[in-house]
């Protein structure tokens, strides 16, 4: 990782040194950094080697690919989320023949309408080595380049799925779909980057778990991935591991559980401490927001009542419990001045709380998922146990049938920002572990494959959002929040070639028979969605075409993410500066002080079955006489450091004479 950073620093340096010196003309032709290559519309040839930052960088990466890269079809590492490629060298490039080695990695997408989150325009896209090299019309490209036809379709940045659990085991059971099947399904649906959750067992090292996940994903993942790390037990000793994850490992988001009592749940104090640490590290705090204490009690109650089926799951996780936890998480984040990201927004009131907090100026983001946008929780009452169990996840899918529509509207108006899938599928045999006790059912649903189609069908087809907003909520916003923008989440020169050709007219019916996962039940079974990915390009390679998937196991690269994401932290920084509290300068209080006898009070740790609070730090009355305070001028015994009691000076009950010290 360090060499990558080195090269980026070089890039920056050379970029800055050239700034303003070699721009032949103003660049603002198409409005900003990441737009079409300037001059792309003029058919011309320029000497390629003379563009310093770009060419230097290309040289770097190229060299490295050749050293490290082997037979693997994966393209070399991209230029990293470094300086914008629209920089000083905004020119159409034609490559000298010496670079014409990897034929298979070159691709031109012709005739499509390019859709970014800010604008749409018609242009061709030329891709080489997994990077978008040119955008424009009449591009000059080497001969023998493969052409993909996108006429009449949309060319959008590949989806970023901000929440998957393809590896995390539950009760010793590994998910039915691992990194290979999961990312394969993701690609089939138009998602080209996933961010998976590392779930360390409480008490084990975060770094070890992280490496475990990286190993598994490096071997199996078919698309680029990044990792969130879940904090299953907070203690101060974690600080070093967190720092190492943030600074060396490229992790900038950590999830906390407010649920799963006695297992993963963090107390409010822990959240406060952790959020303060994350703010200092520049990471984004995520929460699984449900009140674990209440759920635990409700589960006991329901089992006691003899309700053991999957309907007990939703009955024990009412939406108020989700809403309450979201509210609390926001309060704590506000106090700690830490940005907050609420995973899995499943209910209307929870979404409302987020929307309201944003209106009050809180830095908080909400992530509805495929399931909450597409379906409701009525299936928990299905007579078919296997069907009902397939829907079990936390927070549960809301039984209110108007929920999907409502969440879609909030997503469209910007109150919610990011969509994930919370993919974590378990086979029916695995779910059946909880056939006599709903609390034992492994939690998680599918959704990784259907996400883009669901959002298109529910939001764009219905006119709630346009295609640009669609790109924002499925890809760009996540890339910005998690600081992989503009490498991901945008079609621009220098960005990774993760591109989806989207056919908004085609429809597809979801079924467990045809989906790319191994689970037997698809929670969206039988639903028809307009909008389908017709071609998917991941890392510069076509992985889906004509309905055929052509993925390579292990081709996915880990995408490191830097701390202090601009989208999130600019505001946080400004607030940190503002938020300093000031005391009131006063003279010393010199009136009488009541005698405090520290008796009766120092509570002996009562022999009770206290819940899991923190260990009792006895906050007995502090000995005030330790402070350098003299009662009335210098006294004989001033040098004696402590007095255990001090008689009261004022007569009891009488008015004492208070000096006003202003």
């Amino acid at each position: 990782m360090s060499d990558r950073r080195m090269s980026q620093e070089e890039d920056c340096a050379s970029l800055l040194s050239k700034l303003g010196s070699d721009s032949p003309r103003p660049r603002m032709k198409y409005g900003g950094m990441f737009c079409n290559v300037e001059g792309a519309f003029e058919n011309k040839t320029l000497n390629f080697e003379s563009f310093s930052p770009q060419s230097q960088r290309r040289g770097n990466t190229r060299n490295r690919t050749e050293v490290t890269g082997g037979p693997g079809p994966g393209p070399g590492p991209g230029p990293g989320p470094g300086p914008g490629p629209g920089g000083p060298s905004g020119q159409t490039m034609v490559f000298p023949s010496s670079f014409n080695k990897k034929q298979g990695d070159r691709l031109i997408i012709k005739g499509g309408k390019i859709v970014n989150d800010d604008q749409s325009f018609y242009a061709d896209v030329y891709i080489e080595d997994g990077i978008i090299k040119q955008i424009g019309e009449n591009l000059v490209v080497p001969a023998g380049v493969r052409t993909v036809d996108a006429y009449g379709q949309l060319v959008i940045p590949g989806g970023v799925d901000s929440n998957t659990s393809l590896q995390a085991p539950q009760r010793g059971l590994s998910p039915a779909d691992d990194f290979y099947q999961g990312t394969r399904a993701a690609l089939a649906g138009g998602t080209t980057t996933i961010i998976d959750h590392v779930l360390p067992e409480p008490g084990t090292s975060l770094l070890v778990a992280f490496e475990q996940w990286r190993d598994a994903a490096d071997q199996r993942a078919c698309c680029d991935y990044s990792l969130h790390v879940d904090i299953t037990r907070w203690h101060e000793g974690l600080y070093e591991e967190l720092e190492s994850l943030v600074k060396d490992k490229g992790v900038n988001s950590f999830l906390f559980f407010m649920s799963y009592k006695d297992k993963y749940q963090s107390s409010d104090s822990q959240l406060y401490e952790a959020f303060s640490v994350l703010r200092d590290l520049g990471a984004l705090a995520q929460v699984h927001a449900e009140n674990g204490d209440i759920i635990d009690e409700e589960q006991k109650k329901l089992l006691f009542l003899g309700i053991t089926g999957p309907e007990g799951h939703v009955l024990s996780h009412p939406e108020e419990v989700e809403t309450e936890a979201v509210y609390r998480a926001i309060t704590i984040a506000k106090q700690a001045n830490c940005p907050l990201y609420v995973t899995k927004v499943m209910s209307k009131p929870a979404a409302d709380v987020i929307a309201k907090a944003r209106k009050k100026g809180m830095v908080v983001y909400g992530e509805p998922i495929t399931a909450s946008l597409a379906t409701d929780g009525s299936h928990y009452w299905s007579k078919d146990w296997a069907q009902a169990a397939a829907y079990v996840m936390s927070p549960p899918i809301n039984p209110d049938p108007s929920t999907p529509q409502y969440l879609t509207s909030l997503l469209a108006c910007g109150d919610l920002q990011v969509t994930g899938s919370a993919q974590a599928s378990f086979s029916t045999a695995q779910k059946a572990v909880g056939k006599d006790d709903f609390t034992q059912i492994p939690e998680g649903t599918n959704g990784i494959e259907e996400r883009l189609s669901v959002v298109w069908d529910r939001a764009v087809s219905t006119g709630k959002m346009d295609e640009n907003e669609f790109v924002a909520v499925t890809s760009t916003n996540a890339a910005k929040l998690f600081n992989i923008y503009p490498r991901k989440g945008r079609i621009a020169v220098g960005s990774d070639a993760d591109i989806v050709i989207w056919n908004p007219k085609e429809t597809k019916t979801v079924s467990a028979k045809t989906h790319n996962l191994t689970v037997e039940v698809n929670i969206l079974e039988g639903m028809e969605f307009r909008g389908v990915a017709s071609v998917v390009v991941s890392g510069g390679r076509v992985v889906l075409e004509d309905g055929k998937l052509n993925v390579t196991e292990g081709s996915g690269r880990f995408i490191p993410r830097k701390a202090f994401s601009d989208t999130v932290y600019k505001r946080i920084r400004a607030r940190s500066k503002m938020a300093e509290a000031h005391g009131v300068p006063r003279g010393n209080y010199d009136g009488p002080v009541h005698d405090v006898i520290s008796m009766t009070k120092s509570v002996p740790p009562t022999p009770t079955t206290r819940g899991p609070t923190c260990p009792k730090t006895i906050t007995g009355p502090r000995n005030l006489h330790q402070s350098g305070f003299t009662l009335a001028g210098a006294q004989i015994d001033d040098h004696i450091p402590r007095r255990s009691a001090q008689k009261i000076v004022a007569p009891p009950g009488g008015r004492s004479n208070i000096t006003s010290l202003s």
Binding site: K261, V321, Q335, V433, T619
Partner: protein, 573 residues
């Protein structure tokens, strides 16, 4: 002393007879002009041209308003705190209450953790019986939670006339309960038919903030309000509403101090939750700007929890919500400490004993802020100062109403009188009055407690120890009618399904049982290892009768479906 006193013929004591003529009687539902005759501390007749015995003392009201005496739902007289006792004891406190037109107070019993609720209750009874000048009742605070407490609560409800318990969401490591405990307490309270009260602040956040602010070197009273921002109050209110909803328990939020907390209550009510909010004299009458006073002693006098909101629009907002019914009851949370006591925290604001005055000023402040400004009428005024409290705590119509048979706790109210509140003239013993210099319109002219005149022409004739304990029965109608209906509705039913007869995955008790991590952690959960339940203990057979059915347990069960393949699920609908 329990129960409702009917119109019985008790031997007459002449001095106890009183006739008020020409009064405008104000109840929470209507006002009307009538004479009123009382005897033995009970109202005997209301009407015109009453026939009364001769030689009765008569007061001519000249058309002034006669209202039910105020009920202060929240006082903490004589409360022990860190080895000190709050400055006003039951005598001084109730005297001040009577001077302000309040004829009944409800005090909080605060048992030290580890002390039995019953013995703490008895202790408070003893104090109050010997000193109180007006009728009183007691709430009991739950400062810790275990099974024994539940039995004591039951005894208090059944034998001692207590129907309200307060839990703390704050004072970490001292009084604070966890959400699980609050859930259990609320369930118990609902079953007993009592009212759950909360002191709503997030103690975890407050503790962290206190530490942070002390680290920054802020030690004065402004640190108190900085460490308890109003979000922390609103959050805790929201959480307790959620728990109350889940347990179907009526909730009563004490000390509503901020706009956002009041909003949470108002919204919860709109959603149908049975929740009541109690703003106090301080939050209705002043704001928290004084925490920044240069005079330490003055700043410290305002220290209470939740703190007074520094937002100067708060009092007006809370008065509006009180007028429109979103908030229902008013208390005073009267618990002042004198300056020498406060000075215990002169170098550390977290040690300043908490509590402000307000029992004397409550009625006048509300009259001035709400009735004079036209936000509410005199009937609503009676509701929020007296009747609502009597209904919620099941003392209605003995208290909170002027009716034949009700206790003769009355106030003859003069809406014209103005008064400037000052520590020089108040009846409390503390040196600072947080309303110092506030001019209020409206005040009591005559106060009658148990049929005796205790305030007349500005002279107070309170008798120490004359106050009676008012026992309260559980299941107040006003609160529990709705709760009962919901309990009936809320019965949950499972889905009748056949047995699942598909394959079941093998759960091996993995190498997962984590070793308690060897690190200096500050925390939680004494790791209760969620045991994987052995499902084969249930009377479930995999597919019909099998040979080994009689063997009760099998440790593992091989998976029947081929791994990765589609299992064949039988639909059992």
């Amino acid at each position: 002393m329990s129960g409702y006193q009917g119109k019985k013929n008790i031997p007459r004591i002449t001095s106890d007879r009183l006739l008020i003529k020409g009064a405008k009687i104000v109840n929470d539902d209507q006002s009307f002009c009538a004479d009123i005759y009382m005897e033995d501390g009970v109202i005997k007749q209301i009407g015109e041209n009453l026939i009364v015995p001769g030689g009765v003392k008569t007061i001519d009201a000249h058309g002034r308003m006669l209202m039910p005496g105020g009920i202060d739902v929240h006082t903490r007289f004589q409360m022990p705190d860190r080895g000190m006792t709050s400055a006003d004891d039951f005598y001084q406190g109730t005297k001040a209450a009577l001077a302000g037109g309040t004829t009944m107070i409800m005090d909080h019993v605060v048992p030290e953790p580890g002390v039995s609720l019953i013995s703490a209750f008895e202790q408070w009874r003893e104090w109050a019986d010997s000193k109180s000048c007006c009728d009183y009742s007691l709430h009991v605070d739950i400062t810790e939670w275990h099974r024994g407490i539940q039995e004591e609560m039951e005894m208090l409800v059944k034998d001692h006339g207590v129907n309200s318990f307060l839990v703390y969401l704050v004072y970490k490591d001292i009084f604070q309960l966890t959400d699980s405990q609050v859930y259990e307490v609320f369930s118990v309270i609902r079953d007993l038919g009592a009212i759950a009260q909360v002191h709503a602040e997030n103690g975890d956040i407050v503790a962290e903030e206190q530490r942070r602010i002390l680290e920054q070197g802020i030690t004065g009273p402004e640190g108190h309000v900085l460490s308890r921002p109003e979000e922390v109050e609103a959050e805790a209110v929201n959480r307790s509403v959620t728990v109350a909803n889940q347990t179907n328990c009526p909730l009563y939020v004490t000390k509503v101090m901020s706009k956002s907390a009041a909003d949470v209550i108002a919204q919860a009510r709109k959603k149908g939750t049975v929740v009541y909010g109690e703003p106090i004299t301080a939050s209705l009458g002043t704001d928290g700007s004084h925490y920044w006073s240069k005079n330490w002693a003055k700043a410290a006098a305002y220290v209470t929890s939740p703190p007074l909101s520094p937002d100067p629009t708060t009092p007006d907002y809370l008065n509006s919500l009180l007028s429109c019914g979103d908030l229902q009851v008013t208390g005073s949370a009267h618990c002042p400490f004198n300056t020498a006591q406060r000075a215990v925290g002169k170098d550390d604001f977290s040690l300043i004993p908490e509590g402000v005055n307000g029992t004397e000023e409550r009625m006048s402040i509300i009259w001035d802020k709400c009735v004079v400004t036209g936000k509410m009428d005199e009937n609503q005024f009676v509701a929020v100062t007296s009747t609502n409290a009597a209904k919620i705590y099941n003392m209605y119509p003995r208290k909170g109403r002027i009716a034949v048979g009700s206790d003769a706790d009355l106030v003859l109210w003069d809406p014209e009188v103005t008064k400037i509140i000052s520590a020089k003239s108040h009846n409390s013993t503390v040196e600072y009055n947080i309303f110092e210099g506030t001019e209020v319109r409206g005040g009591p002219l005559v106060v009658i407690s148990q049929g005796k005149i205790v305030l007349e022409e500005g002279n107070l004739h309170a008798t120490e120890g004359s106050g009676r304990y008012i026992a309260r029965k559980p299941f107040p109608d006003y609160v529990y009618k709705r709760i009962k209906a919901r309990s009936r509705l809320a019965e949950l039913r499972g889905v009748p399904r056949g047995l699942y007869d598909g394959p079941v995955c093998e759960v091996s008790v993995t190498p997962k049982t984590m070793t308690p991590a060897s690190s200096a952690k500050t925390s939680p959960a004494k790791q209760v290892n969620q045991p994987v339940r052995n499902l084969h203990q249930s009377g479930f057979s995999l597919s019909g009768a099998q040979i080994d059915d009689n063997i009760p347990r099998r440790n593992t069960q091989r998976i029947v479906a081929p791994p990765g393949g589609r299992a064949n699920i039988t639909s059992l609908g």
